[in-house]
């Protein structure tokens, strides 16, 4: 197959070329590169090595200062969005939705479960099948059975819903106290817990609000969209739409 000469090369001074050149020369902001590196989980290494310093200085440090500068809030928040980098425990709905559509598999819908008094050890919660090509490696925990007498007592790898509830409550308390950075840290810890994350939508809601409070509107919007994609008519959809709308207005 012989490729024809491109219009831009054959008509360098004409209107066609002017228009195509304009399209070819357009580019994203510097900040998008640093944000994307952070989102996929390699940005922290870049920042640590001092590479792409200007982009990071323009983008991330401002948000960190707004958040109080105690921790790398932006790094934590955006890195959380880099699904694979933290063990694949969080789903970015939009991306998953696209993939799910392509692979004809339903998007995971995680219901918010009212915590029972005690459910430990718990049976494996029903979990929708992930897309065949998209399955994040998650520990498969069988429903508890009576262990044989000789079996050693091993604490289940999957946290109980009570543990999940404690983490979410702690994040909520921190956020209520105005400690957005602390709340985000707690939510990061929650996300790193193994298991199905039965309170994931609560976690998303808190993360969205914490990011808003920290002044990181862009990341808050991404989380809000993720929440809407996962559950467009869920109990937190109205709040998520509010965040998406308010961020869009500011922009």
């Amino acid at each position: 197959m012989t490729d024809p000469e491109r219009l831009l090369d054959s008509d360098g001074a004409g209107l066609s070329a002017a228009l195509l050149r304009a399209g070819r020369e357009e580019g994203p902001s510097e900040k998008l590169l640093s944000d994307t590196l952070l989102a996929v989980g390699v940005g922290a290494a870049v920042a640590g090595a001092g590479a792409a310093a200007s982009a990071l200085a323009a983008g991330s440090s401002g948000a960190m200062l707004k958040a109080g500068g105690t921790t790398s809030l932006t790094t934590l928040a955006i890195k959380w969005l880099g699904i694979g980098a933290v063990g694949g425990v969080v789903t970015v709905g939009a991306a998953v939705g696209v993939e799910d559509r392509m692979h004809a598999a339903p998007a995971p819908q995680l219901a918010v479960v009212a915590p029972p008094a005690s459910v430990e050890p718990r049976a494996a919660a029903p979990k929708p099948s992930p897309g065949p090509a998209l399955a994040e490696p998650e520990p498969q925990v069988a429903a508890p059975t009576t262990p044989p007498p000789s079996a050693p007592s091993i604490k289940p790898a999957v946290p109980s819903i009570a543990e999940e509830t404690r983490a979410i409550d702690q994040a909520r308390r921190e956020l209520s106290a105005g400690n957005a950075s602390g709340a985000l840290g707690t939510l990061d810890t929650y996300d790193r817990l193994p298991g199905p994350h039965r309170l994931q939508q609560e976690a998303l809601l808190l993360r969205m609000d914490a990011l808003v409070k920290a002044g990181n509107a862009g990341a808050a919007r991404v989380v809000a969209k993720s929440l809407l994609d996962q559950s467009p008519s869920g109990p937190h959809a109205a709040r998520a739409r509010q965040v998406v709308g308010s961020v869009a207005q500011k922009e």
């Binding site: 228009l19 580019g27 994203p28 989980g41 696209v98 922009e251």
Partner: protein, 202 residues
């Protein structure tokens, strides 16, 4: 010329599968952070530009670009290093279509930047304004069918070879060549109309 409905909102006749290893061949390519980092640095700009040219606003393209690389980060071990760009562009086209559908559902106003359609054809001086030129370009692209536009953008702006486009879109080379010919005809007809319009560029 502007049709009112972006061609990208029209469904493709067929959605090409992503160029990744088959299910039986998963996890056979390196997924090192350095590879991912290089991929982002190298391909972010072309991916973003492609999303812009298929009709997304700057803010939408920012979000969609991040989504593309998040998908890639999850599937690095499935992506053949020789087909990284094909994977990214194919993913970007899927996400771009999704973004358009979301926009339609939300009934958001069209992006202010892109509605700066002309009341009269600009002169050459105005065309020096790159933003204006891009608005005209997008207008011409919007008049094409989605099938033709994607091939045109990948060839004329992103400078992929026809073989690479065939890989991205999972099309026979002859189909790519045919679509490119038709797209060029459409584009040049549009440019000719602009040039003939009184007050327009000569």
């Amino acid at each position: 010329m502007h049709t009112g409905v972006s061609p990208i909102e029209r469904p493709l006749a067929s959605e090409p599968p992503l160029p990744v290893a088959s299910s039986g061949e998963r996890a056979r390519f390196p997924a090192a952070p350095a590879r991912l980092e290089g991929l982002v640095k190298r391909e972010l700009r072309p991916v973003w530009r492609l999303l812009r040219r298929v009709g997304l606003s700057e803010a939408e393209a920012d979000d969609a670009t991040q989504q593309v690389f998040i998908v890639a980060s999850r599937r690095m071990s499935e992506i053949d290093p020789a087909r990284e760009r094909a994977f990214l562009f194919s993913t970007a086209l899927h996400i771009g279509r999704r973004a358009h559908r979301s926009r339609a559902r939300r009934r958001e106003d069209e992006d202010d930047e892109l509605v700066s359609r002309r009341d009269s054809v600009p002169g050459l001086d105005e065309l020096l304004d790159q933003k204006r030129a891009r608005a005209l370009l997008d207008e011409l692209l919007a008049a094409m069918s989605d099938d033709l536009r994607v091939v045109f953008v990948l060839y004329e702006i992103e400078e992929l070879t026809m073989a690479e486009i065939a890989q991205v879109l999972e099309l026979p080379p002859g189909t790519v060549a045919s679509r490119l010919r038709r797209a060029r005809t459409d584009f040049q007809s549009g440019v000719a109309r602009l040039e003939k319009t009184p007050g327009g560029p000569r």
